[in-house]
Symmetry: C2
Subunit: 281 residues, 2 copies
């Protein structure tokens, strides 16, 4: 039996609490981390990795829409997309909504995340079996080294820079990701909480600015993440963050809970303290 | 002694948890509610009313900047401002940063909120003794009835529509607030969490649309509020939400943690689900 309250407290001394229901649904120790799923009273099933909240059925759309639609709508014709991490499948599901997309590679280091998500988060993972999707259970650090000039968009849907995700926050890795892009390519990593993970965010943007000409933070709420507020980095060397295919953006907007063409612009209009963190001021 | 973890769980089954330090600093039952202040490890002193989080020293700027600067920067020359609720003083402090402001009336029903805040939240309440401020410990429902055609901006910094704040969420009250405005006047109430308090938000906007020609939701993060994400309503009959005095907005921007002229626009570019709630779709 679980305790009836799941708590996740940041080193800063605050965090989230979620009422749980019943026995834990899934709990396995992989080579990399502890993968667990429990049922919550108000947010549906909840995935945690090493005791850190990854996603919940009821609020996952905040994260998955924000990491996907802003970079994909900023690309004129994204056909080949790579998702790094993201084994729950939510980012892949959103990417597939863009009818330009012909192929999605998912590179997730931990097969148990995929197994658990398919079994207990079907509304999130349900599109991992789509015929346009290729799932690679591999370390993205190695995977990306052999990929040159092939992706239109790369989304880095990783855990924090501690644990198995650590190597995804280095200049070498970002350089390899840059080299995997075709002309006009865009990379968007999740870039931590500007309130709860200030130092991690600052360090990350220092590295991103070394590798990419354009590095723009954009933000949105995520109720179940520390601080309730999250950031992503829009990175490119030869593109910008405007909407390129209005018709495709309208289609996405019509079915989205979050995304619309106004929000696409507004998400980049960030608070002063976020600007300062992202520019190392 | 307090427990070492303060938890606030919404009826939806999730919420926030804050590590506390030491004995409770202030705890008094007023005629209206239980007023308490405790020290937290990561967020400074914390004010709660009837066990609901009102503000913390470290994250109060999110709420107080958002409720103040967007309406005040949308007014060409706000001289006379009314703050309803807001006994902690944070909204008044931000309003006073606008050098056009000659007078601020604060109408707070509960004198103990003011007493506790002056004693234990001095960085928030410190401007309540400014000579431009008049503090009225009164029920705003009665106070507003005698105010006609006198305020440039009215900010409703209230608790939720349960408990002592309940009467501040009625058509009659909003109509009286409207009549208290001068030409070009703007009213901005806090309008609840679009994720954690959907029903309360929807009901509130139905009423606001009955009274005001223009009712625009705008949003921002608040790490310690349920859902981490909050909304305010920009209401007017004869104005709009553009910046009217660029020089004043720049001055505010230069010293703000949140506010800048881009964010002023971006805050209104809200997610689809917020648009739908605010338009009762």
């Amino acid at each position: 039996m679980l305790n009836n309250l799941y708590k996740e407290i940041t080193p800063n001394g605050y965090g989230i609490a979620i009422e749980t229901e019943g026995d834990i649904l899934y709990s396995k120790q992989s080579e990399f981390q502890k993968v667990e799923i429990f049922k919550s009273r108000g947010l549906g099933n909840v995935l945690t990795l090493d005791g850190l909240m990854m996603t919940t059925v009821e609020d996952e759309f905040f994260y998955h829409e924000m990491i996907s639609h802003i970079p994909l709508c900023s690309h004129k014709n994204p056909e080949n997309v790579l998702v790094i991490g993201g084994g729950d499948g939510g980012t892949v599901r959103e990417v597939l909504l863009h009818d330009s997309v012909k192929n999605v590679d998912l590179c997730e280091i931990d097969g148990l995340v995929i197994e658990a998500s398919k079994q207990f988060l079907p509304t999130i993972a349900g599109k991992l079996d789509d015929k346009r999707v290729n799932v690679y259970v591999e370390d993205a650090i190695e995977f990306i080294k052999n990929k040159k000039n092939c992706y239109d968009v790369v989304l880095i849907d990783s855990t924090d820079p501690m644990g198995p995700g650590e190597g995804l926050f280095t200049e070498e890795f970002y350089t390899n990701v840059k080299e995997s892009l075709k002309e006009g390519g865009i990379v968007t990593p999740q870039s931590e909480s500007p309130f709860a993970n200030k130092n991690e965010m600052r360090k990350m943007y220092i590295l991103l600015h070394k590798v990419f000409k354009t590095v723009l933070p954009y933000c949105g709420p995520i109720p179940t993440y520390p601080g309730g507020y999250w950031s992503w980095a829009f990175c490119t060397n030869d593109n910008d963050n405007s909407i390129k295919d209005e018709a495709r953006a309208i289609k996405i907007e019509q079915n989205a809970k979050i995304y619309n063409r106004e929000l696409h612009k507004g998400a980049f209009m960030v608070p002063n303290f976020v600007r300062k963190l992202a520019n190392n001021e």
